[in-house]
């Protein structure tokens, strides 16, 4: 009787690489570049009572949501965002600590599950909190290091909250179509 040989299924050994994948790095880079361009041009067009969206923060929040990096990788994304802000009009250096802390907060919040019914509100909540914290750090630095007028403090609160609200809407709206386009689970 003929002996039947059944071949074994073969599996490739997948090398576990540390660090962010090249594809994800490109995605974050493109989002940050888009954020910089939007902040430079569209940011001054969209102005609701002095409150403008901060597209750089919105884009790194979106990038962190899509890529799901580790905390130290989120910190690197934040520093990169801070560096990009140096080329845009604004107060120099302060974006480094503000975006660094904002990105770390975002990176630590992405794994939370905040759902109402079937709708996932993690992008919205995480973006709101990150933007508020990033804005708060920025304003704190302004007062600590640049001796800003203390009476101006109250004026910054609605600006930070308003920016956070607009960023929240932008990220929540863009997250789902981008996630579907990138076929992420």
């Amino acid at each position: 009787m003929e002996k039947q040989v059944i071949a074994q299924k073969r599996e490739l050994k997948v090398e576990q690489k540390n660090g962010i994948k090249v594809r994800d790095l490109i995605l974050v880079g493109v989002l940050l570049a888009a954020g910089a361009v939007l902040k430079a041009f569209a940011g001054s067009i969209i102005n609701i009572g002095g409150v403008k969206p901060n597209f750089v923060i919105a884009m790194y929040c979106l990038g962190i949501l899509l890529v799901k990096p580790k905390i130290y990788e989120s910190a690197a994304i934040g520093l990169l965002a801070g560096a990009i802000c140096q080329f845009l009009p604004g107060t120099p250096w302060l974006n480094f600590p503000s975006e660094l802390i904002g990105a770390v907060v975002m990176g630590s919040m992405i794994h939370l599950v905040i759902k109402i019914g079937k709708v996932n509100f993690t992008p919205a909540v995480a973006t709101f909190v990150s933007t508020v914290i990033s804005g708060s750090v920025f304003v704190s630095c302004l007062f600590l290091f640049l001796n800003a007028e203390k009476s101006a403090l109250m004026a910054y609160i609605p600006i930070v909250l308003g920016t956070a609200a607009i960023n929240t809407v932008i990220v929540q709206l863009l997250y789902i179509p981008l996630k579907l386009t990138l076929k992420q689970e």
């Binding site: 040989v5 071949a7 074994q8 299924k9 073969r10 490739l12």
Partner: protein, 280 residues
């Protein structure tokens, strides 16, 4: 030598095998044609030969493909590409430079070919495919046939032993297709390069290839010398392949009892056969 042993492959998210229990041996210096209807598994077989499967297309993989005893499963496609060069169906997607010279230099520089050897390989490759005059031309301004030759020049500059081509004449007119196959024959005979070509134009394969593989539903259903395979007209027709008319004529004559030495696969052979029949 290429040895394929029990190769079965199913793409991820697919429900059926693209290749099913393939066994095939291809000797050094062979000129092999692969033919079959759409979805027969021809392109998947090419991808398995150059290692793109399983390294870039995930899926269920059984069996082995060995190039000179080296299992393609265990080496990366880039490591294989010095031995196996591939011309893909969509030639534009293969071009990465804007100028012909840069296109050929790309592979040479990336494989760290010694500087003093680069010029001779570059000019030699352009001469071999008959396009030295295109060296400084913009690739975007070239015709389909010229782009095919640039792609081949870029590959043969790396001096691979095996040349894989996936429907290289799909966008060429009949005359350019003929010229292109003459070039493949020249590379095969002069440089001893193993040529494996997926092609739908059976007339070209019957004239230039020495061996023919017929695929259907992921399986090899015919494999042998071209004349031997072409005699099986009915089986080929069942696989969606129409034999060249001269082959059909010879097969029909033999069915009718006419004594022939064998089938004819080219028009010249058919003419000789007809003259012999008329005057003998």
């Amino acid at each position: 030598m290429i040895t394929i042993d029990g190769l079965t492959f199913q793409y991820k998210n697919s429900t059926q095998n693209a290749l099913q229990d393939i066994h095939l041996t291809i000797e050094d210096g062979d000129f092999l044609g692969i033919i079959g209807e759409s979805g027969a598994g021809k392109t998947t077989l090419i991808r398995a030969l150059n290692g793109i499967i399983p390294h870039h297309f995930p899926g269920d993989y059984y069996g082995s493909v060995k190039i000179d005893g080296q299992d393609t499963f265990d080496v990366t496609p880039s490591a294989l590409s010095l031995k196996v060069g591939t011309v893909f169906q969509d030639i534009d997607s293969q071009m990465i430079s804007s100028v012909v010279e840069d296109e050929i230099l790309f592979g040479l520089e990336n494989f760290s070919i010694p500087r003093e050897e680069i010029e001779s390989r570059l000019s030699g490759a352009l001469e071999a495919v008959g396009i030295p005059q295109l060296r400084y031309r913009n690739i975007a301004h070239l015709s389909g046939g010229q782009k095919q030759k640039v792609a081949i020049a870029a590959i043969i500059a790396l001096r691979p032993k095996i040349l894989l081509l996936d429907e290289p004449t799909s966008e060429l007119d009949p005359q350019s297709s003929l010229v292109f196959f003459r070039l493949l024959k020249e590379l095969n005979e002069s440089y001893g390069m193993t040529v494996i070509v997926v092609e739908q134009k059976i007339m070209l394969l019957s004239e230039f290839a020495r061996k023919l593989v017929v695929m259907k539903n992921g399986r090899i259903i015919q494999n042998g010398a071209v004349r031997e395979v072409l005699q099986k007209t009915a089986e080929l027709r069942n696989s969606g392949i129409n034999c060249p008319r001269v082959v059909t004529l010879a097969n029909r004559l033999m069915e009718l009892g006419v004594q022939l030495e064998g089938i004819c696969v080219t028009v010249d052979e058919a003419e000789t056969m007809a003259r012999r029949l008329m005057y003998d």
